[in-house]
């Protein structure tokens, strides 16, 4: 089947079965491998992308269901103001260990900041609970979100 997808501002025509999850269209058809496979069941959040600005688990979303929604991925997130601030904050305190989950973490964080400019810790915990970091970088993920939001960050959280 043929589908028209607008990904990161570019329209692509893809010939794949409609049941194929968006994740595998991005990775194996369009070569956008920044979006990661972790569990295939929506538990880990490594595959998080934006559909019209809202987070979706691309491992569960059938390509036939995307319709005309605009898709944004980690490769493009730095072009948005919040995405760029998050990337800078991530690097300022070097959030990551293995880094495999971080694309999904940043996509979820970006959607959080879009709906709550100065999120509380409880909001951050709630918004980020769907994203697993196997290495346990959670303290720094929280800190980086606060930094990107312009909130005062206590040094011992960052350390």
């Amino acid at each position: 089947m043929g589908y028209r997808l607008e990904v990161n501002g570019t329209v692509h025509e893809v010939q794949v079965p409609g049941e194929m999850p968006l994740l595998w269209v991005l990775r194996d058809e369009l070569g956008l491998v920044g979006t990661k496979y972790g569990c295939g069941k929506g538990y880990c959040g490594a595959c998080t992308v934006h559909l019209d600005g809202a987070t979706v688990r691309s491992c569960l979303l059938k390509v036939a269901s995307v319709g005309t929604a605009k898709i944004h991925t980690i490769e493009h997130i730095g072009t948005s103001a919040a995405g760029e601030r998050l990337q800078r904050a991530w690097l300022e305190i070097d959030v990551m260990q293995c880094g495999y989950c971080q694309a999904g973490q940043i996509m979820s964080a970006c959607a959080l900041l879009a709906r709550s400019a100065s999120p509380s810790d409880a909001e951050i915990n709630a918004a980020m609970s769907g994203n697993i970091c196997r290495c346990g970088c959670y303290n720094r993920i929280r800190s980086a979100i606060r930094i990107a939001a312009g909130l005062k960050e206590e040094a011992d959280h960052v350390a």
């Binding site: 920044g34 990661k36 295939g40 070097d94 994203n131």
Partner: protein, 738 residues
């Protein structure tokens, strides 16, 4: 502000390298012989684009320094920390440094693996020497150009200074000339005084971090080759299963499928080529979907009876029967227990658990004209080569192995089963690049699990509250002679060597399940059992665990480990215990009911760690409020930015093992858990505040991937006891509502 030139001992002596190995390091000295091409270019006076000073260091005319990172990067930060050590002795500015990942070539680079928190210990000195040698070559070239003695020269931030004449130049200006300088003897090259370090000890952002936040293709999963097909490998549902017959016609007709290939494995545990059926397709999802079309008959008879319930019953029987063998006997524990003023005993156990790195196992391979090229996220590439030869008969000389970044390791990628599978599949379709990707379910059900274990402890306490006798009967897995992989005991485990009468003994039962090393292997489980039981002993003796440990440790001294293992320094142990008690304000227990602090200490992988957990219990819910960590990994923390992340990660890893409900259960050799819904990992709300205090001892730095993990679990279970009076003697923790 002018850079302050560094004054250092001059390089007075240069010797050409001999083809020998550095004592104790296994580090190839020929690493410092310049490559013929650059040497030749330098001799002809041609500027080399990047002059190669050694296997590890090259310098471009613009002063850019390229440092090769030799070890697999699995999230432990080695791709940043080892180059930092080189760059510091080279005395360049970190902003000048570019880092490239080495392919597997141990003859050129020395040992290339990620395991056992060994790299910092092993490579600290050789990496310093490598950097210092390259600096010496640059100095020699500058001395030649200026016709002065190298002893008159100093360096700072990638520049060479001749103070007497006020001249200076950047490293790039003499790089190609330096490549022709005979490399110095590594053992003789002068090293910085640690007070002169400019990069070691700084907070440095990870080499790949900027690429990671942009989603750049750097993981094994991201390997893309022209014309590549994606593969899955269907194996038996239970360990030890053998392929009887496979009807593959329906799968062959499935959308996108190009090949379906039954493969008969070698049944070998180490090389890990299990029988299976490979499906190759245009997209991974199509290959994975086609699995439902396979009709495979497996012989699962070998796994019959290998169920968790049977293992538990076997352990009960073994403990009732008494140990099969003694592992360590000091004094007369039985006699002392019989006459002790107080005698206490308890059983502890913990389950099989999975590694579950977030990047599932994967490997890309291409087999053409008898040559195999591999792109693999592996912790042990050299072992992978050996396994390839054993399982598939492919000689190491025919293999090129590229090391990709790994999306986590935790010990899982010490085993190369997925690499062997990818190679076997690629060989079946010569010329076609293949990427094998395991599904999460494959990964969860085909792990080399941290094995479960059972302990039956007894302790005798004197009238004066001293621990006089200690015994542990450990029930584990093995064939009767040898324990299964990572299922062995640690006979140096405290209180061994600290109490006069001690007996460590063992019983084994067989298993068909693959077991293996999980972050802090052995220690991750032994610390829970032994430090929790010692907390029971402390209560029985009318004291607390830190005081009991300090009294057992006694005066600072080295306690030898049986079999020539790493000796245990009681002084370093005392220091981290004292430090954690101080930073956690141990004497002050928290206000409020059912909320308390717990303590534990452990020594593993050369690192000394004491930790305090503050937790509260409401009904069956446990909240960890804060964790304090005091650690001693020697004189220097190479990269505090990465080091603190390792400690926090280890703490959260341990808390998840205890609190999240992690356990793999088996029924007739088949793992019953399959994904993160039934094998949960830590999520953000679980992560408490974690405060880290380093104790610097005058010992060379050691690794940090593992030793911070073991104490956190018993510190938590001991806090739960202090808060509730309920002893946690079994993992994962499952409290019943009060």
């Amino acid at each position: 502000m002018s850079p302050e030139p560094l004054s250092r001992a001059p390089i007075a002596r240069r010797t050409v390298l001999k083809a020998s190995l550095l004592a104790g390091g296994g580090f190839a000295l020929d690493a410092l012989i310049p490559l013929p091409a650059s040497a030749l270019a330098a001799a002809r006076g041609e500027p080399a684009a990047r002059a190669q000073l050694s296997a590890f260091v090259s310098v471009a005319a613009d002063g850019t320094v390229t440092i090769v990172s030799k070890n697999p990067e699995i999230g432990q930060g080695i791709k940043t920390s080892l180059p930092m050590i080189v760059a510091d002795e080279l005395d360049c500015d970190w902003s000048q440094v570019r880092i490239t990942q080495a392919d597997l070539d141990q003859a050129r680079y020395g040992e290339q693996y990620a395991g056992g928190s060994t790299a910092t210990t092993r490579d600290w000195l050789p990496m310093r020497q490598t950097g210092a040698a390259a600096r010496a070559m640059l100095l020699a070239a500058a001395a030649q150009r200026w016709r002065v003695s190298a002893t008159e020269l100093t360096t700072s931030r990638g520049r060479i200074f001749h103070r007497a004449s006020g001249r200076s130049l950047g490293y790039g200006a003499v790089a190609s000339a330096a490549a022709a300088v005979p490399p110095p003897d590594l053992a003789q090259v002068p090293l910085k005084d640690p007070s002169e370090f400019t990069i070691i000890g700084q907070r440095v952002v990870g080499t790949d971090s900027a690429r990671i936040v942009r989603g750049a293709p750097i993981f094994g999963m991201d390997t893309r080759l022209p014309g590549m097909l994606y593969a899955v490998y269907e194996v038996a549902p239970a360990y030890g299963g053998r392929l009887v017959k496979a009807d593959v016609e329906a799968a062959r007709r499935a959308p996108g499928v190009r090949h379906v290939i039954p493969i008969v494995g070698n049944g070998d545990y180490d090389s890990g080529l299990a029988d299976g059926v490979a499906i190759l397709a245009s997209h991974w999802w199509l290959a994975n979907e086609a699995r439902a079309q396979l009709a495979v008959e497996w012989n699962l008879s070998a796994a019959r009876g290998h169920s968790s319930s049977v293992y538990r019953a076997n352990a009960d029987a073994a403990i009732a029967h008494g140990p099969q063998a003694d592992l360590r006997v000091d004094g007369d524990a039985a006699g002392q227990l019989a006459t002790a003023a107080k005698r206490i005993g308890a059983r502890y156990d913990y389950p099989f658990i999975a590694h579950a790195p977030l990047e599932p196992q994967n490997c890309a391979a291409r087999f053409s004209d008898g040559k195999l090229e591999i792109w693999a996220p592996t912790q042990t590439p050299q072992r992978g080569l050996a396994a390839l030869e054993k399982a598939l008969g492919i000689a190491p000389a025919s293999v090129t192995l590229h090391l990709t970044r790994s999306g986590g390791g935790f010990g899982r990628r010490l085993m190369n089963d997925y690499l062997i599978q990818a190679a076997a599949i690629a060989r079946a379709v010569p010329g076609v690049p293949v990427q094998l990707i395991w599904s999460r379910e494959d990964d969860m059900r085909r792990d080399y699990y941290r094995p479960g274990g059972w302990h039956s402890f007894e302790a005798g306490v004197s009238e004066r509250g001293e621990l006089v006798a200690f015994t542990d009967h450990f029930v584990t897995f093995g064939d009767g002679k040898t324990t299964a992989r990572a299922a062995g005991y640690n006979t140096a485990m405290p209180p061994a060597g600290l109490v006069p009468h001690l007996r460590y003994s063992q019983s084994m039962m067989p298993t068909v399940v693959n077991t293996g090393a999980l972050r802090a292997p052995g220690s991750n489980a032994l610390a829970f059992a032994s430090q929790s039981f010692l907390d029971e002993v402390a209560y029985a003796a009318g004291t607390d665990l830190p005081r009991l440990m300090l009294s057992l440790l006694g005066e600072p001294r080295e306690v030898a480990a049986p079999g020539g293992g790493v000796p245990f320094d009681t002084g370093r142990a005392r220091a981290v215990i004292a430090r954690v008690l101080e930073v956690s304000d141990w004497a002050q227990q928290p206000a409020g009911s059912r909320r308390a602090k717990g303590f534990a200490f452990y020594f593993s992988h050369r690192g000394y760690f004491a930790e305090v957990v503050e937790a509260s219990v409401a009904g069956s819910d446990i909240t960890v409020h804060k964790v304090w960590v005091a650690g001693d990994i020697g004189s220097h923390i190479v990269n505090p930015m990465g080091a603190e992340n390792q400690v926090r990660g280890a703490v959260i890893d341990g808390l998840a093992q205890a609190l999240a409900g992690q356990a793999i259960e088996f029924v007739d050799g088949a793992a019953q858990q399959s994904n993160f819904h039934d094998f949960p990992l830590a999520r953000m709300p679980l992560a408490p505040e974690i405060e880290i205090a380093w104790v610097r001892s005058a010992k060379p730095p050691t690794g940090l991937g593992e030793p911070a993990l073991p104490p956190v679990i018993p510190a938590l279970t001991n806090a739960i006891f202090a808060a509730t009076g309920t002893r946690v003697r079994s993992l994962p923790i499952r409290l019943h509502s009060a």
